[in-house]
Symmetry: C2
Subunit: 502 residues, 2 copies
């Protein structure tokens, strides 16, 4: 397989993952590729985890500070967390073992807007990076890197790191070459506009240029990306998708959107995929996506001729669709552009595109503040990801969620959000299976009835009771009525009695 | 004075403010100029207020929905609120009478990011605008408008409105002409990059072009902008300014900033002016400001040769400095650029500039969530203004505040912010008279000690007690430890006992 390493200089650095792990030391700041289960290094994490375990067995300290594009997979975040090999982690994760370590307080996790993560490394907030470990599809004769199934923060990490380890993954289709569009925003103080005017504009090269002198190891792998399959759509997801389409139709009726002018941004998950399935049968045509990840539903839309182009930084495909991608990459690359995270999630380009953002949430309060990250205000689930990048700069920003979780024990609409990731200034529309709450143009008090209308019927009276109490508790000072004594009663009920209903 | 109205077509529409008020009707959506006490219409608000009072005396309904650039003054927001003439208000206000009406629930107020406010009108979220009322310095022969002391959302309102009323204010110096740089971001779906690469770049015209057919009235005025004088610096402000400079020096020492590379954004107020006074005696040279408003301290920096250029959308000057500006506008216009709010506060340009943002706050919590707007979570003070536009896109974002207010009864550091306008993902540095808390690169638990260190000594033990309780209350789930039962005890103490200390 070494035909994938066309550079003689770099072919000379071929070694095993265990040998390459010698270049990763205790206390190192390590930047890795990887974004929503795609394009993460497949071999080095296990090798590093083994090195950590050996050190720990001898009573020696061994941890790294680990930076990625976003979440990875069990054979990356999982093995490293299990080996207690990570001291600090940013900007996003979704691994069960790692999440447990984070919430137990044994691992430090900083939840950073994705568009800021590589930028903060570039700006020097993390000091020097010791090692970058990046998966690629192929190395060219000149030593350029052809990205695999995602780009993420690879440019920033490869530029910042003192040492580079490259994993060449044979499982990734060679036909991915040409999908990536690599353009680097000039560094301060010479930043210039990002010259993207349309979703599909290509402005750079299909490869990443590096300082090959920094490469200390090249490792061959042959292992699949690991993405979870999506669940079949249930009735609730279908209803939410229907309400989302009703909302879009309303925008068309109001003259703010046309049937061939919809630019989509979509968070990851079952509900977004249900929304995309709904679009297949809608009147919307020539849909475009300026988003973070390419999902199954987008490939279906492209196959059906409903979507013309999708721009993202990575794939987030089910195993079935990942295989399909590997078979048909030569076709899909005509309709897909993979960009560096700083560009896929750029506030500048997002605002320019005029997209409609839709992201999931844990809960929203009666005024439209959104909690995307923490259960009961304390336990982090995954992280904010790019939801803030898109919400803050979208033409219209929406949040979608089933109205209840855990068989009705948890309401997605609460009196006071127990953690706030998106403020009342940012969220415009909240959508559940009961409809959509359009908060645009509304003062806080006028938002309450809208938010209650999308809550589960079991919780509506409880929310109204809270609002009545809030109105009475602070009679003379109430742009935003609250009764701070009972603001978290929903959450305290959940903690103490197992249900927000009490 | 009609030489200020060079267009014969528009001179023919000269009338009194009372006559012009005929064009403003009950229920109208009215867009006005005005930004931090500058450039607001001086005559029409009183005429509209009188019309409202007359209607109310007859038992008739009369209110308008009122949109501006930001805050205005007693003879605009004040008289209209006093006459109960406003139904809905956005995006920002700071008038005591209006604030009272808002918090009493008799007026609706939507607190919108300033960079979104004109955009949302342009995007059609408010439907058709009935009237735009805009103050200018002069009308040219072609009917172009020369902005007075601010630009704000004038472009969006003049474009959206069916009718236009122009106030020509003789008090504003004719030499302001040339200070404004008017460039309109093309509307969706044709938005393009904003071609500003440097703070002082001029990309447009010194005038606003309008459809003169929409002009229904031109009114002459001669009245000053109304800005409050700043208080003399006190000891606390001086200490905060010193800590801010220490923070800047630390960035220089870390190699992230140079003495001639500081680009400032600064919120309005006494503390920011103290910071600017501190910069006069600092090692920083060739300072630039890409900010929202031009303040006294910036003129001092320009006079002293320490600041080369400031870009903003408006003035926020004390009466003394406003007079100075009127006398010396011909000189200052070489160093000042006034831009439309969509550009002064553009996420795109802000991120490109790499500026250091510093804004005031009401309170921060132990994890770095910031409350900029609501006392005790319910009573709105002013609004978020542009603080989110800058915080979210700055190179470094800081918040500055005295550690206590009301003689120590209110702490600026609390366990849980009672309203959240900027999240833990956005705030990087919090500065009080006790030092600066640098939260960059830190997981939530590691932020607590930093935040406690900048709290007033009287509150440190109380904050530590809360954190200990939080650690114990949710032992197994605590990325962000909280004890939701007592999270708002500081605020409840304030409400019930008059002091957060209890």
């Amino acid at each position: 397989m070494s035909e994938r390493i066309a550079s003689a200089e770099l072919r000379a650095k071929l070694m095993s993952a265990d040998e390459a792990a010698q270049f990763v030391n205790n206390g190192d700041l390590v930047g890795m590729s990887g974004f929503t289960g795609a394009a993460y290094p497949k071999a080095l994490p296990t090798a590093i985890a083994n090195k950590a375990k050996e050190a720990h067995a001898k009573g020696d300290a061994f941890t790294i500070d680990m930076l990625t594009g976003a979440s990875t997979a069990p054979d990356c975040d999982g093995v490293l967390a299990e080996a207690e090999a990570v001291n600090y982690r940013m900007p996003y994760q979704s691994d069960p073992i790692m999440r447990k370590a984070i919430n137990a307080g044994s691992m430090k996790y900083q939840d950073i807007h994705l568009s800021h993560s590589g930028l903060q490394v570039e700006q020097g907030f993390f000091g020097e990076m010791d090692v970058a470990i990046v998966e690629v599809t192929r190395i060219t004769e000149e030593g350029h890197l052809i990205p695999s199934s995602g780009v993420g923060n690879n440019l920033e990490y490869l530029a910042a790191a003192k040492k580079i380890i490259i994993e060449v993954n044979e499982w990734q289709a060679l036909e991915l070459e040409g999908m990536a569009d690599i353009w680097s925003v000039p560094h301060l103080p010479n930043r210039t506009p990002i010259p993207i005017n349309n979703v599909g504009d290509r402005i750079g090269n299909p490869y990443i240029q590096i300082d090959t002198n920094k490469v200390v190891a090249v490792v061959e792998t042959n292992a699949p990306d690991r993405n979870a399959p999506f669940k079949p759509f249930d009735d609730v997801s279908a209803k939410i998708a229907g309400n989302f389409l009703d909302f879009l139709e309303g925008e068309v009726a109001a003259g703010r959107l046309t049937y061939d002018g919809y630019i989509m941004q979509s968070g990851v998950g079952n509900v977004p995929n249900a929304v995309m399935a709904g679009l297949l049968d809608s009147k919307f045509e020539n849909i475009q996506a300026y988003t973070e990840v390419v999902q199954d539903g987008m490939l279906d839309l492209i196959d059906a001729g409903k979507m013309t182009v999708a721009s993202a930084t990575s794939f987030a495909l089910s195993p079935e669709y990942a295989d399909k991608m590997n078979r048909e990459a030569a076709t899909y690359r005509k309709s897909l552009v993979l960009r560096p995270l700083q560009i896929s999630n750029s506030p500048e380009v997002i605002r320019r595109m005029g997209l409609i953002a839709s992201n999931g949430m844990i809960e929203a309060d009666i005024y439209g503040n959104i909690n995307s990250t923490h259960v009961n205000g304390t336990r982090v689930m995954n992280g904010i990801g790019g939801s803030g990048d898109f919400t803050r700069n979208a033409f219209i920003s929406s949040f979608i969620s089933p109205s209840v979780a855990k068989d009705g024990a948890i309401s997605a609409v609460v009196p006071f959000a127990s953690h706030i990731d998106h403020t009342e200034h940012d969220a415009m529309v909240v959508i559940t299976e009961y409809g959509f709450a359009d908060l645009r143009g509304l003062a806080p008090r006028d938002r309450v009835a809208k938010m209650v209308s999308v809550a589960h019927p079991d919780y509506r009276a409880l929310l109204e009771e809270y609002y009545d109490r809030a109105l009475k508790s602070t009679t003379s000072f109430q742009q935003t009525p609250h009764d701070l004594k009972t603001a978290f009663n929903f959450h305290l009920n959940m903690i103490e009695k197992g249900s927000m209903k009490g």
